[in-house]
C-alpha cells in the first residue's frame, strides 16, 4: 500500500505526456496532403476576395450602388472616357451592347452587363450571396441531419422508422419544384409571409438557404444514421449504459464524437453541392431574388449577351467551377485525413 502511495506521489511530479489527439493526427495528415491544402487555400482565397468586394467597388462609388443599373454612365478605358452602353442612348436598343472588359481595376474590369452594371463587382457581391447560402445551408443541413440521425439511430424502433420515412419523403421531393412553389408563394406576398414571430420576405437570402438545407438533409442523414447504428452496438456504449449514463450523455458524449468525422467529411462536399444547387435555382429565378445577385442570377442575366459579351456569364461560371472544385478536392483530402484506412482500401 505504502509503495503504491509513494509511486503516486512520485509520478504526479512528472508532467503527464500529451496524448496524440485523433483530431490533431487528422490535421497533421491533412497538412501533409498538398493538393488538399492547395484546394483549401483556393477556397479561402475565393472567400476573402468576395468579402473584399467593397474594396474593388470603391472606385465605382461615383455611380452609387454598384448593383443598381447604370445605363447612362461612363467609364475610363485606355485613358478615354467612354459610355458604358456602346452605340449611344440610355435605352438598350437592338444592336447596342454594353462595354466589354477593360482589364483595368475599378473601371469595368470584366465589362458591363445588360443594365450597365460592372460585371466584376457583380461577381464579387454575387459570390458573397452564393457562398453565404452554400455554407449556411450546409451547416444547417448537417446539424439538423446529425441530430435526427442520432435520435433515429440511438432510439431505433418506431422512432427510427418514422424519421427515416420522413427523410424518404423529403428525398423524393424534386428540389426545383419545391423551390418554385415556395418562391411563388413568397413573391405574391410583397409584405412577406409571417411565420410565428418571423416575417419572411421573398428577397431574403434565407429563403433559398432553408430550401437547399432542407433538400439535402437526407443525404447527410443516411450515412450518419448508419454510422450511429454501428457505434451504438459498440461495447463502450454498453459500458456507459452499465455505469448508469443518461441518454443525453450517451448520445452526445459517447456516440457523437465517433460519428462527427463523417459529418465533417460531408460538410465541404455538401457545401459544393449547395452552391451548385443555389446557382441552378437562381438561374431559374426561384433562388436569389433581385435586388440581390448571386452567381446564378448573373449567369441568367448574361445569357442574352452570350454572343457579344460572353464574360458576363463566363466569369460567375468560372467562379462556380473553381469553388466547387476546391471544395470537392478539400472534401477528399479531409476524408483521407480522417480515415486513412479508406485510402489504403482504394489503393
Amino acid at each position: 500500500m505504502a509503495a503504491i502511495a509513494e509511486q503516486v506521489s512520485t509520478t504526479e511530479l512528472r508532467p503527464a505526456a500529451a496524448g496524440r489527439n485523433p483530431w490533431a493526427l487528422a490535421w497533421r495528415r491533412l497538412r501533409s496532403n498538398r493538393i488538399a491544402l492547395a484546394a483549401l487555400g483556393l477556397f479561402i482565397l475565393i472567400v476573402v476576395v468576395c468579402l473584399a468586394a467593397p474594396l474593388y467597388a470603391h472606385d465605382l462609388a461615383h455611380i452609387g450602388n454598384p448593383l443598381s443599373p447604370n445605363l447612362n454612365g461612363t467609364t475610363v478605358a485606355n485613358g478615354k472616357v467612354v459610355p458604358i452602353m456602346q452605340e449611344g442612348g440610355g435605352i438598350l436598343h437592338l444592336g447596342e451592347t454594353p462595354i466589354g472588359p477593360t482589364w483595368s481595376l475599378g473601371h469595368y474590369f470584366l465589362g458591363a452587363d445588360g443594365l450597365g452594371r460592372d460585371v466584376a463587382s457583380l461577381v464579387l457581391y454575387g459570390g458573397r450571396a452564393s457562398l453565404q447560402i452554400g455554407l449556411a445551408s450546409a451547416v444547417i443541413c448537417c446539424v439538423v441531419a446529425t441530430v435526427f440521425a442520432l435520435i433515429a439511430g440511438f432510439f431505433g424502433g418506431l422512432t427510427d422508422t418514422i424519421l427515416s420515412r420522413i427523410m424518404d419523403i423529403v428525398w423524393s421531393f424534386p428540389v426545383i419544384l419545391l423551390a418554385i412553389c415556395i418562391a411563388t408563394v413568397l413573391l405574391t406576398q410583397p409584405n412577406g409571409v409571417k411565420v410565428g414571430f418571423l416575417t419572411i420576405y421573398a428577397t431574403s437570402l434565407w429563403v433559398p438557404t432553408f430550401i437547399i438545407a432542407l433538400i439535402y438533409v437526407p443525404y447527410v442523414y443516411r450515412p450518419v444514421r448508419g454510422q450511429v447504428l454501428s457505434v451504438v452496438q459498440k461495447e463502450f456504449v454498453e459500458a456507459s449504459i452499465a455505469q448508469g449514463a443518461s441518454n443525453f450523455r450517451l448520445i452526445f458524449s459517447e456516440i457523437l464524437p465517433n460519428v462527427i468525422s463523417t459529418v465533417i467529411v460531408l460538410l465541404p462536399l455538401i457545401t459544393a453541392t449547395n452552391i451548385l444547387t443555389e446557382s441552378a435555382l437562381s438561374y431559374l429565378s426561384v433562388g436569389v431574388q433581385p435586388p440581390n445577385v448571386s452567381w446564378g442570377t448573373i449567369i441568367a442575366d448574361g445569357q442574352d449577351l452570350l454572343y457579344t459579351r460572353p464574360w458576363v456569364s463566363l466569369a460567375p461560371g468560372i467562379m462556380i467551377v473553381l469553388t466547387v472544385l476546391a471544395l470537392n478536392v478539400l472534401g477528399d483530402g479531409v476524408r483521407d485525413a480522417l480515415d486513412p484506412r479508406a485510402k489504403l482500401r482504394v489503393k
Binding site: M1, I4, A17, R20, A242, G244, A245
Partner: protein, 362 residues
C-alpha cells in the same frame, strides 16, 4: 497488500458492507428471449432466441463464480442481464437483498455503482475519442462522486492500482496495447469501488502471454478490495485459476454448478466432461494418453432448442428419457455440486455406454 484491504479506495467509502459469505446476488429463473421480427410496418414476432433460459444461481460476497460454455451459449447475455444492460424477459434478480429486476433507470443508478463490468474486447470497450483520464473518470462524473480534484487524484490512483503510470492520463486508447487497454477497462470498473465486478471474457481477446498478467491483476485486486467476481470465459483452463465455484452453461441453461476443484476432479455432466477433455495439457505424454471427447455437430439453434435435455443430440450417454424429459439441477455428490443430467457421471449411475456409442458412432 492483503492486510489492509482497500485503503487507497477510501475516497469512495460508503454504504453498509455485506460481510463475506453472505448472498450478494441471487438470480432466480432468469430468462432472456430475443424476439425475431418480420414484416415492414406491422412487425410480427415470428420466433424467439432463447439466449438465457431459466437460469438460477446465488453469488456470495467475496467469491468468484466462473461461468463457462461455448460461444453462443448465453454467457455474455447473462452478464448483460445481471448488469441490466438488457431487460430480462422474466425471472428475478436480487442484489443485496433488493429485487432490482424491474428497477427504473433512475432507481438503478445507485445499484450500478456497486455493479460494474469489464468487457471482452479491449479495442471496442474504450471510446476511441476520449482520453484515458476521461474514460476512467466517467463513472465518477456520472454518479457525481467527488469534485474535480478528487476525481483527478482518484484517476491517477486507479492507474497505479492497475499497473499503468500516471503519465498515461492524457493519452488516447489507440496509443495502448490490448493488455494495457484491458487494464484501463479494469480501472474504469473499479472507479466507484463496486462490490460486484462482472468480467465478460476479459482475457479472450488478449495475447496468451498477457492473459496471465490480467488474470493475476484481477486476482490481486479481489484480495485487496474484497471484490466479488463473475468471471466469464469459454475455456475451463482460464477460470480454474481464479474461480471458487464454476457454472457450466449450455444453450442458455446452467447444466452444472459446483465448487471449482470438485468440478475438475469429478465432473458430473457429460458436457462438462467433454469441455474438460478439451483443455490443453502442457505435457505431451499425458496429452496423448488422455481420451479426448469430441462433440459431434454444432450447438443447436437457440431459436428452437432441442426437447428434453438440450444436450441430448450431442451426448454420448443420451437415452430416450433425455429426449422427452428436461432434467433439473439436482444435488450430485458433495455439498453445492449441482448438475442437470439424467445420467450423471462420477456418481455410479452411468448407463451402459454401448447403447449410446451405437447412436453417436463412437
Amino acid at each position: 497488500m492483503t492486510d489492509d484491504p482497500g485503503t487507497h479506495m477510501a475516497v469512495l467509502q460508503d454504504g453498509p458492507e455485506i460481510a463475506a459469505g453472505q448472498v450478494l446476488l441471487r438470480a432466480e429463473r432468469l430468462k432472456k428471449y430475443f424476439p425475431i421480427k418480420h414484416g415492414v410496418l406491422l412487425q410480427r414476432e415470428v420466433a424467439r432466441v432463447h439466449a438465457v433460459d431459466d437460469v438460477s444461481f446465488e453469488l456470495r460476497a467475496g467469491e468468484t463464480l466462473g461461468l463457462v460454455g461455448e460461444s453462443g451459449c448465453g454467457k455474455s447475455t447473462l452478464a448483460r442481464c445481471i448488469s441490466r444492460i438488457y431487460e430480462v424477459t422474466s425471472g428475478t434478480l436480487t442484489f443485496e437483498g433488493k429485487d432490482i429486476t424491474n428497477y427504473s433507470r433512475r432507481k438503478l443508478r445507485p445499484v450500478r455503482r456497486d455493479l460494474q463490468m469489464v468487457f471482452q474486447d479491449p479495442y471496442a470497450s474504450l471510446n476511441p475519442r476520449k482520453r484515458i483520464g476521461a474514460i476512467i473518470a466517467d463513472p465518477m462524473r456520472i454518479h457525481h462522486v467527488g469534485d474535480r480534484a478528487q476525481i483527478r487524484d482518484r484517476v491517477l490512483e486507479l492507474l497505479e492500482v492497475v499497473g499503468l503510470s500516471a503519465e498515461h492520463v492524457n493519452r488516447y486508447p489507440h496509443e495502448f496495447s490490448g493488455g494495457q487497454r484491458q487494464r484501463i477497462g479494469v480501472a474504469r470498473a473499479l472507479a466507484l469501488r463496486p462490490k460486484l465486478v462482472i468480467a465478460d471474457e476479459p482475457v479472450s481477446a488478449l495475447d496468451v502471454s498477457i492473459r496471465a498478467q490480467v488474470i493475476n491483476l484481477l486476482d490481486d485486486l479481489q484480495d485487496d478490495l474484497g471484490l466479488t467476481y463473475i468471471f466469464i470465459a469459454h475455456d475451463l483452463g482460464v477460470v480454474r485459476h481464479v474461480s471458487d465455484r464454476i457454472a457450466v452453461m449450455y444453450l442458455g441453461k446452467i447444466v452444472e454448478i459446483s465448487p471449482a476443484e470438485e468440478l475438475y476432479e469429478r465432473p458430473v455432466h457429460p458436457y462438462t466432461e467433454a469441455l474438460l477433455s478439451a483443455v490443453p495439457v502442457p505435457d505431451p505424454d499425458l496429452s496423448a494418453a488422455r481420451q479426448q471427447i469430441v462433440l459431434e455437430g454444432d450447438v443447436p439453434s437457440p431459436i428452437s432448442p432441442p426437447s428434453g435435455c438440450r444436450f441430448h443430440p450431442r451426448c454420448r450417454y443420451a437415452t430416450d428419457i433425455c429426449k422427452t424429459e428436461e432434467p433439473q439441477l439436482t444435488l450430485r455428490g458433495s455439498v453445492g455440486h449441482l448438475a442437470a443430467c439424467h445420467h450423471p457421471l462420477s456418481v455410479g449411475a452411468r448407463p451402459p455406454e454401448s447403447a449410446a456409442a451405437a447412436v453417436t458412432g463412437q
